[in-house]
């Protein structure tokens, strides 16, 4: 069960209409290492991961939905005042033809989201390493996105998200150690 809370996890402000940047940000909405993939990956792995780390996957997976909402807010605010001409100039002509200004789960190149982005091996170490890699890839993407804009408000929100990837990666690494420790103990008893 999830309960909705009518607020963002961190403020999202933009200082200008910028559909070009919105097109790139969509990578973190419906891309392979984006927030939708992250949320669904962890929440799906919860069922078969050892009890000791279920809570962590549950909570990080939940936080990812808050990040998804932040990215959506950025895209919405960056495009809401754009004309069809401006969208076309920004490379969003094909998007406009199909979706108007509606958001869609695709990556920056317009490729629709697919479940193939999510790994679920059932092996706890394999799954957690997958999760660590996903966080590091998302962190790298946020850095590229920060580098691609001169909007200080947008950069502020993106930096928050970049830092969250670092914390999640750290927690997943600790989860690996917790499971290794448990595995080690079982050998002796």
């Amino acid at each position: 069960m999830w309960i909705y809370e009518k607020k963002l996890q961190y403020p999202v402000r933009v200082s200008k209409c910028d559909p070009r940047m919105a097109k790139f940000l969509i990578e973190q909405y419906g891309g392979a290492d984006g927030e939708l993939s992250a949320a669904l990956r962890y929440l799906n792995q919860r069922y078969t991961i050892p009890d000791k780390v279920v809570g962590l996957l549950n909570d990080i997976g939940t936080e990812e939905f808050a990040h998804l909402e932040m990215i959506a807010t950025m895209v919405y605010k960056l495009t809401k005042d754009a004309t069809p001409e401006q969208l076309e100039e920004a490379g969003l002509g094909a998007h406009y033809a199909n979706h108007d200004k509606a958001l869609f789960y695709n990556n920056a190149a317009g490729v629709p989201w697919t479940a193939a982005y999510i790994a679920a091996k059932g092996d706890p170490i394999a799954d957690l390493y997958e999760d660590i890699a996903a966080e590091e890839k998302a962190r790298a993407t946020y850095q590229w996105l920060i580098d691609m804009t001169d909007d200080p408000d947008l950069q502020d929100s993106l930096k928050f998200l970049r830092e969250r990837e670092i914390v999640h990666s750290l927690r997943f690494r600790e989860a690996v150690e917790i499971l290794k420790e448990e595995q080690g103990r079982k050998k002796f008893f």
Binding site: I3, K7, Q9, Y10, P11, V12, V53, G55, D59, T73
Partner: protein
Amino acid sequence: MTTANRPVDEQFYQLLRRLQELDFVLVELNLYLDTHPHDAQAIEQYNQTAQQRWEVAQEFESRYGPLMNFGHSYSDYPWQWKEAPWPWQV
């Protein structure tokens, strides 16, 4: 108790910011405790912050309407939950 959702003003952003700050502390402590469940000091900080958070949320809701759906916040008349602004609109 409110009669209607007040329009967004400067205090809306200040209270929202305060709530986001407290929630940041809580998310951080929550994830930390998921991998460090025996840190009593962190648990104490978590519980204290949860109390503070509750108080700020009460103040926010009394001014600007319910933060949560499905019975986790009270509503005045008429039904307040569906009223704007939504988070992406502020």
